[in-house]
């Protein structure tokens, strides 16, 4: 990689427009997605299959929806320099609340949806308040909240419970062409989050809170409220994921919490180019990150690869991707340069 340090020499009144265009991390994510699609497509073709057959495509898309919901929500909190390790438990909780409230009665569908989302929002609210008002580290706060919800689930529900009326199961099973309704809903939620982040004050303030809390506060942003909102929305997204689970299972299931959605969603968010330390990122990138994981899933499935190998590769890809983003984070333009250089000495190279 050639750092454009030399270009900064002439930075003066007319710079900025003259700067060469950098690939943003979102673009890298989608380039990587295309790359992986091509490689996987070729590999599958070599084996005589077709990765882009309708069945595989809808498999891929279906795989994106569950993690997609959770990851979109997770994006919001990660942008605020927080994280949510309780999402997996919230998903399980909401699948059960939704299914038991519906109790097989089509007329109670809306009630189930409202109840599940209300509970989800409640958990998010508590998370947000513990973090912002009690100043408990988000890692510990949400880990603890996850345990609390787990305890409740294990005590209250002895297994799959509740019944989802067929009308609502369509949310989990209907497809329009190869595209499952759940994926469409996920993309709508992602679009809503996109609008939130790019078109609303709350979204703008999330970037500010994650980017620099002091700057946000100095600019009159209500930082605590923003953080709480992010957590509520994150939990709501997890709640929708729980409803999707209920629709697909026809019932609620507590064991969903063992799917590892919490860490997977953080991985997807980071894979999507959002900075783990907040302030930079996008929902579009997250959707790309989720898609990458789904393509890998599908390709491995089609190629009949050992499921454990998938974990290995997933771990490697996440680390490699973040290492790549970290390389690109050093912004040559904002570094001061007075004289040209023959070397490329980075300032404070020893500070890890």
């Amino acid at each position: 990689m050639t750092a454009g340090t030399g270009a900064g020499t002439k930075v003066g009144t007319g710079a900025g427009s003259a700067r060469r265009h950098h690939l943003g991390s979102t673009e890298i994510v989608y380039l990587a997605l295309v790359g992986i699609l091509v490689i996987a497509g070729v590999l599958v073709a070599v084996r005589g299959g077709n990765l882009f057959a309708q069945g595989n495509v809808s498999y891929m898309l279906t795989q994106t929806s569950l993690l997609g919901f959770v990851a979109v929500g997770q994006t919001l909190v990660v942008l605020c320099r927080s994280l949510d390790l309780s999402v997996g438990y919230v998903v399980a909780l909401c699948s059960l609340i939704g299914a038991t409230t519906m109790a097989g009665d089509p007329s109670r569908v809306w009630l189930g949806v409202v109840a599940a989302l209300a509970v989800a929002a409640g958990v998010g609210l508590v998370n947000g308040l513990i973090i912002s008002a009690l100043r408990v580290n988000a890692f510990i706060a949400t880990l603890g909240m996850g345990l609390i919800v787990k305890g409740f689930l294990d005590t209250r529900f002895k297994g799959p419970e509740g019944e989802v009326p067929l009308a609502f199961q369509t949310f989990g099973y209907t497809r329009i062409g190869p595209v499952p309704v759940s994926t469409i809903v996920m993309l709508l939620v992602a679009a809503a989050a996109f609008v939130l982040l790019t078109r609303t004050r709350a979204g703008y303030h999330m970037f500010a809170v994650g980017g620099n809390l002091d700057v946000a506060r100095l600019s009159g942003v209500r930082t605590g409220r923003t953080l709480v909102l992010a957590h509520v929305l994150c939990s709501l997204c997890a709640g929708v994921a729980g409803l999707l689970i209920a629709a697909r299972f026809g019932t609620g299931n507590a064991l969903v919490y063992s799917y590892g959605l919490d860490l997977d969603s953080i991985a997807a968010v980071v894979l999507g180019g959002t900075l783990l330390f907040g302030g930079r990122g996008s929902v579009v990138g997250t959707v790309g990150g989720v898609a990458i994981l789904a393509v890998l899933d599908t390709a491995f499935n089609v190629l009949d690869v050992n499921p454990f190998f998938k974990d290995v590769l997933r771990g490697v890809i996440i680390i490699a991707a973040v290492a790549l983003y970290a390389r690109r984070q050093i912004d040559p333009a904002s570094r001061r340069v007075r004289f040209g250089t023959k070397g490329s000495a980075a300032r404070g190279g020893d500070v890890a």
């Binding site: 057959a53 309708q54 069945g55 595989n56 809808s58 498999y59 279906t62 795989q63 569950l66 909780l93 609340i97 038991t100 409230t101 109790a103 009630l111 109840a115 209300a118 509970v119 409640g122 958990v123 508590v126 609390i148 919800v149 305890g151 409740f152 294990d154 005590t155 209250r156 529900f157 002895k158 297994g159 799959p160 419970e161 509740g162 199961q169 989990g172 099973y173 689970i245 697909r248 299972f249 026809g250 019932t251 299931n253 507590a254 064991l255 969903v256 063992s258 799917y259 899933d297 499935n301 009949d304 050992n306 499921p307």
Partner: protein, 412 residues
Amino acid sequence: MRPIRALLAGTAAAGLLLLTACTTDAPTEQPPAAEKSAAEEEPAESGAESEWFVQEDYDRELAQRDVEPEGPADQPWLQAIEPEYVDTADFAGEGGTSEGGDKTLCFSNASVSNPWRVTGWITMQQQVEVLQEEGVIGEFRVSDAADDDNKQISDIQAFVEAGDCDAIVISPSTTATLTPAVEAACESGTPVIVFDRGVNTDCMVTFIHPIGGYAYGAVGAEFLVDNLDPGATVLALRILPGVDVLEHRWAAADKVFSESDIDVVGVEFTGGDGAKIKDLVTQYLQRGEIDGIWMDAGDGAVAAVEAFEDAGQPYPVFVGEDEMSFLRKWDETGMTAIGNVYSNFQWRTPILAAQMIWAGEEVPSEWVLPQEPVVQEDLADFLEANADMPSLHYAKFGGEDLPGYPEAWTDR
């Protein structure tokens, strides 16, 4: 249970429920669940009264233990108890890409996340190889859902979607949740074979399973009742809550215990983690003698036995599983024990069932395989037969006549 302890536990539980009250909402929103929850908040977990206990199933399973299964005695995986055969002529020769041989068999596996499944999975692969050699099976396509119901639903959908499966074998991850997906698979016209855990539908051609969880649980509990004096103390170790096959085991055992003079001093969830099991047993031993251990699965049984050894306590009457590590420990210590069996050889049956269905042979609609525990008398035989097998191998894996034996299981 001492009153003070119950009181403290109750207080803690009540406090906790208050804390989590925001997640329960008004009872009016959940009328069907509300009544149950009151009972479940009691610290005592009574399986026999739980929603998992169905008297009818319990009675049937217990009766099935004494039924002589039909079929070859040396091939228990082909035996069936009280079979009701269904005609499969419709599926014969029909279907998919190939006529006669080289069929595509699709298998949606819940996971290979525990030793029991790993052992069975090897057996299944070996059986498939045999049929591939014979030209019955062309392609064996597998999706592993890694214990993710949602993924397994997609996996099954993908098989249906692909349209070229000549039969779909499903080992469901969770009973209730996979029902819609299995129904969809049935509707596609492809023969569907379900084994191990069931689903809430009877649309599949055959549902293959050993007698069941009630029988499993009851066998162990009865063994304890028979071998312990009245008033003896028993500790029940369970893996995790909410899984039907495991819940049935406990529900039956609880039923048996409740009808006896056995004192169940504790019911603990261990996650199958040896360290946790050993710690829990050790703690119980500190508080008093334990005369018997009942486990709902054999994972970590050796750790429980060791806890007695390390505490210098006499061996309990022990209900384990047919896992080699436990059988060896049992033999070594000479304790009074029984090796419960959730017939691992059932992993062969679906493959053979697929062959039969393709051939138009009739198969039992519910294929109940025998499920006989390993008892003291058989112990030596099983130990000898499996002498080279790894410790987390299951004695009744039923693959001795397969060509890959024994390397496939020893060198996995």
